[in-house]
């Protein structure tokens, strides 16, 4: 907790919290990153599970590559937001749930991209891979859960 309080008293944190641009800009970029990462991950899962069809299979790993760009934007802005108000966030149940879900989602995103690339390189049919299908469905649940938890941080209480 001391570390978080120290981080909150840095000049950067002060800029984030007090300038007209700091917090609003970071939260806006955070949302764009979230929408890109979550949206593309969900669409790839819908294709793998045949809720959608017709997409050339070599495009799916590329979508996930773009999703990783969105996640990187989300991560960097999220860290900057955390530095400015970490002591508050760390006591929020929903924030901790969100972090857990984001972590799982990020691992799924990275794994799925590598897995699909491997399948492509081995000339296997991406749409026939049961493991990729199941993991991508889990990814939908964790991404959507993370978005919902993020929205509820302002509404649900703190741990102590």
């Amino acid at each position: 907790m001391n570390l978080l309080t120290t981080l909150e008293s840095t000049a950067f944190s002060e800029w984030v919290l007090t300038s007209m641009l700091g917090f609003p800009t970071l939260i806006a970029l955070h949302s764009i990153g979230m929408a890109i990462a979550t949206g593309l991950s969900i669409l790839v899962a819908l294709y793998l599970n045949r809720f959608l069809s017709g997409m050339a299979e070599e495009h799916l790993p590329r979508f996930l590559h773009l999703a990783m760009f969105g996640f990187s934007l989300n991560l960097v802005t999220g860290l900057a937001l955390f530095v400015s108000r970490g002591a508050d966030y760390i006591t929020s149940i929903t924030f901790l749930v969100k972090m857990l879900l984001v972590l799982i989602s990020a691992v799924i995103l990275g794994w799925l991209r590598r897995h699909l690339m491997k399948l492509l390189n081995a000339s296997n049919d991406l749409y026939e891979d049961v493991l990729a299908r199941k993991v991508s469905l889990l990814g939908i649940a964790t991404w959507v859960g993370a978005v919902i938890a993020g929205r509820l941080i302002a509404y649900v209480g703190t741990l102590y």
Binding site: I27, T38, I42, A56, V144, R151
Partner: protein, 157 residues
Amino acid sequence: MHLEKFAWLAETPLADWVVSSGVIWPTLECIHFVSLCFFMGGLLIIDLRLTGFYRSSSTATMIKVLRIVLAAFSINFITGILFFAGNAGKYIDNPAFELKLMLIATAGLNALFYKFSLSYLLDTTQVTRTSVFVGYFSILLWAGVIICGRMITFYAR
């Protein structure tokens, strides 16, 4: 932008319902944001195809993605109206909200321009300077919409 013309929405039973319990507003926010993710994911695929990426995927595939994008936009539009009804004071005379509406209108015109001027490109792998511009312009406009949406709270009077 004379949004006060729509202030009557705040007097409707719908507005009462939106603020009638502590659960409805956060639930609407969750729906709005999840739907935004569907919207942005689909939009990126469609717009990037206009700029020359993913050309080997068929037009029929893109039309399916477009349906998801339109459904997600409809959900965002409806939840957006509910937000306005529930807390009109936050949105009227709010420069961020006004800019958001203008950007949405411009993005709509941009999409219509593509539909009526460049839709002959849909069934080809051909890309023109104009289609590249329309694609990137659309991505920029919708990114602006998200940014303005997040700014609404900070510019509320």
